[in-house]
């Protein structure tokens, strides 16, 4: 299936999977390598330490139908260094992504950009005569939205972290 076909397939959904792994050399390679070897879609992958130094948390955003997601979870569990795999998709979870968006500016457009940033509760973190850099944090959707709003001003450079996520303990909005 091509990516375009996958998007149209109603069986295919986006999943956020959280993986706890032994913090060992090459762990990221094992996971990323498994995804490419098996031909699974990997939308984003982030990795970093946890409250326990010997453990890393990886947050993976992927798409697939139920059978593929089931295999992905089994294959992740099969890796010797994997401690725990949770598909957060069926849980209540918090997700955040950070983006740095460098936009072309002129005297005319500067204030408009600042307004957009304010609406999204984003920060201006760098400014020059010709550019402004916006730091946006939030759900993937929110980051998508601010990027869309800034596009008409011409985005010169863009960096996104990919998603990090944790299961919610309190069920409801905070």
């Amino acid at each position: 299936m091509t990516a375009a076909e996958q998007e149209q397939d109603p069986q295919v959904h986006k999943h956020t999977i959280s993986v706890l792994l032994e913090n060992k050399f090459g762990a990221l390679n094992r996971v990323a390598g498994m995804f490419s070897a098996k031909g699974y879609n990997l939308e984003s992958i982030t990795v970093g330490p946890t409250e326990d130094e010997s453990v890393s948390r990886m947050t993976i955003v992927t798409t697939g139908d139920d059978a593929i997601i089931e295999q992905i979870i089994k294959q992740l569990n099969k890796l010797i260094d994997t401690l725990k795999v949770v598909d957060l998709t069926y849980e209540s979870f918090m997700e955040r992504e950070l983006a740095l968006i460098k936009v072309s500016t002129s005297a005319d457009t500067r204030s408009e950009i600042m307004q957009i940033a304010e609406i999204f509760r984003a920060k201006i973190v760098d400014i020059s005569h010709k550019t402004m850099t916006v730091e946006a944090t939030g759900s993937g959707q929110k980051v998508d939205a601010i990027i869309k709003m800034l596009k008409p001003f011409h985005i010169k450079e863009l960096a996104r972290t990919g998603r990090v996520a944790l299961k919610r303990e309190f069920v409801g909005d905070v």
Binding site: L21, Q71, D81, T82
Partner: protein, 582 residues
């Protein structure tokens, strides 16, 4: 980890390595030295508990380790140098991965500080083998060496077994530490569970009780788990017929009335028919491989499916199953057997018996030697009491069909990867593990030439391997496909071969040859009666095809059985030989 046998004396990594292998009760290592492992070889020099066998190629060393493991159930061990030594192991490692064979491969590596510098004989073997090992390690500190080796053997041999690679940098092996070998391993991230879930077992027992046309579909996992006895008891207690995969051969005695022989692309007509019409299929340590199922949606269409497998990722991977049971085959069968009652399968077994009579395995025998005849004769001479090691091609399929397997670990083959060149080194490795029964290597003329160099190793150690070459002058299996599916355009499949008897003699191995059917039995007898290694070449019919055949990706309805005799064949008055399992 708890530690034992602590010695306060400092030892080099190389010494620790050797001592660790002794602790693991490794009795033979297949290997090849080089610059990066010269220190390890120096330490090996003093050890009498471990026999080191110098193969003539690193691929041979890994296949030998596989053969040793497959024949014995113990892990096989290979040791090679860095760079080209390490990359030469890749095919063997991939082979072991596909067939779940527990082996541990130790590779030399350049010194830690040189890694990443394109140093002489550097290769990122940990990176290269990541997707084809169960797990792999780069040892960065001599203080972690012993524990890593312990863990490597543990991971290779538990759960779904597989190859593990340990990369050993030269400087780590030269630095010193106190040797202390852990007594046990406990990994918080890896705890394979072996027992079947009670609820799943009950569901399975319910399905079994209701079945009218059940079939046990038995794979290599049954042999790996050492569960042949449990399986045989289960089949006999319930009266359920048994078909095996290529790797399942030997898990159930093929002389038993319940035996259907092999299923799949080149399986018996009656096993595929029984599976097609079954109402319950119990997969035991088998993974619904495409060579077994053909087009998956048409595989056993009427059957409820139970699947026993140690690897959760095998469940519902290719075919959706009704009752998965994750666990070790032996443990699960022990749990399940007391939960089931004898079934009334008399009618079903009678139907199958009629199918066996209608469509037995068969071939037309004549003056020209048929591979089928060689193998059938060998089956009769050995009565199934031999370790048969096949290569890949037509002869491999006929070995699966025309030999009657009676015991587990007596049929060794490269099933998953299909590696030509497997047989000769694997048989050599098997012969180091099993001296109680004959080990027979059978190759085609093509595959034999892929690891022919191991004749020297076999001769050097007088390894009593009986070597058979079934020479049709073709890459026969590819030729068969070209004939059947590519309008008989034989593109690069006919090939020149050397005088194999002279080759054997050049290595100091007695060689025999048969060119006519009348000579087959006598030649086999001479081969089997020769002490030590011996080789026999059979010049066989050039263009013969393996049947039955379900073409790749097709369904049971497309099964092709042995075609009617051509006019020419009728004129020759060939004798129709038939054999049915069970």
């Amino acid at each position: 980890m708890t530690h034992s046998s602590s010695h306060q004396r400092l030892m080099t990594g190389a010494e620790i390595f050797v001592r660790s292998l002794v602790e693991e009760k490794v009795d033979v290592v297949f290997g090849y030295p080089g610059g990066a492992v010269i220190g390890i070889y120096d330490a090996l020099h003093d050890i009498s508990d471990i026999k080191h066998i110098l193969t003539r190629h690193e691929q041979g060393a890994v296949h030998a380790a596989e053969g040793y493991s497959k024949a014995s159930g113990r892990p096989g061990v290979a040791l090679v140098t860095s760079g080209p030594g390490a990359t030469n192991t890749v095919t063997g490692i991939a082979d072991a991965y596909m067939d779940s064979i527990p082996i541990v491969v130790f590779t030399g590596q350049v010194a830690l500080k040189l890694i990443g510098n394109d140093a002489f004989q550097e290769a990122d073997i940990v990176g290269i083998t990541r997707p084809i090992t169960k797990h792999n390690y780069l040892v960065r500190d001599v203080n972690e060496l012993a524990a890593t080796i312990k863990e490597a053997f543990y991971v290779a041999t538990t759960g779904r077994p597989g190859p593990v690679l340990v990369d050993l940098p030269k400087d780590v092996m030269a630095s010193k530490a106190v040797f202390s070998y852990p007594k046990s391993v406990k990994l918080r991230s890896y705890q394979p569970h072996t027992e079947g879930h009670q609820k799943q077992l009950s569901k399975a027992a319910e399905l079994i009780a209701k079945a009218k046309r059940p079939v046990l579909y038995v794979g290599g996992g049954t042999i790996l788990s050492g569960a042949s006895e449990e399986l045989t008891a289960f089949a006999r207690a319930t009266g359920i017929p048994v078909t095996t995969t290529l790797h399942g051969l030997g898990a159930f005695p093929e002389s038993d009335e319940l035996s259907l022989g092999m299923l799949g692309m080149h399986g018996t007509w009656y096993s595929n028919t029984a599976v097609h019409y079954s109402d319950l299929l119990i997969a035991v340590g088998a993974r619904f491989d495409d060579r077994v199922t053909g087009r998956t949606d048409a595989f056993a269409p009427e059957a409820k499916k139970i699947h026993i497998d140690i690897d959760p990722s095998n469940i519902s991977k290719n075919v959706k199953v009704d009752v998965p049971i994750v666990g070790d085959v032996k443990t699960v069968l022990k749990q399940l057997t007391p939960m089931v009652k004898p079934l009334d399968t008399k009618d079903w077994v009678r139907t199958i018996r009629a199918w066996k009579e209608e469509h037995p395995l068969r071939y037309r025998n004549g003056k020209e030697v048929r591979m089928q005849h060689v193998i059938q004769t060998l089956s009769g001479l050995t009565k199934g009491n031999a370790v048969m090691v096949s290569d890949v091609g037509q002869h491999q399929m006929w070995m699966a069909q025309f030999f009657n397997y009676m015991l587990p670990r007596t049929h060794l083959t490269s099933g998953g990867l299909g590696t030509m060149g497997f047989s000769l080194p694997a048989a050599m490795g098997a012969a180091f593990a099993r001296r109680d029964i004959p080990v027979i290597s059978v190759s085609g003329d093509g595959g034999f030439q892929m690891n022919i160099q191991e004749l020297a190793t076999i001769r050097e150690h007088s390894v009593p391997v009986k070597i058979i070459i079934l020479n049709n002058g073709y890459l026969g299996m590819v030729r068969q496909w070209q004939q059947l599916f590519w309008r008989k355009r034989y593109s690069h499949v006919e090939m020149f071969g050397p005088d194999f008897v002279k080759v054997a003699e050049a290595y100091g191995i007695p060689g025999f040859r048969a060119t006519q059917t009348a000579e087959v039995e006598e030649t086999l007898r001479r081969l089997l009666d020769t002490e030590g290694p011996a080789l026999a070449e059979f010049r066989v019919m050039k263009e013969d095809n393996v049947y039955p055949m379900i073409p790749a990706g097709q369904t049971y309805n497309e099964i092709m059985d042995v075609p009617e005799a051509t006019e020419e064949e009728q004129g020759e008055r060939l004798e129709l030989v038939t054999i049915a399992k069970g």
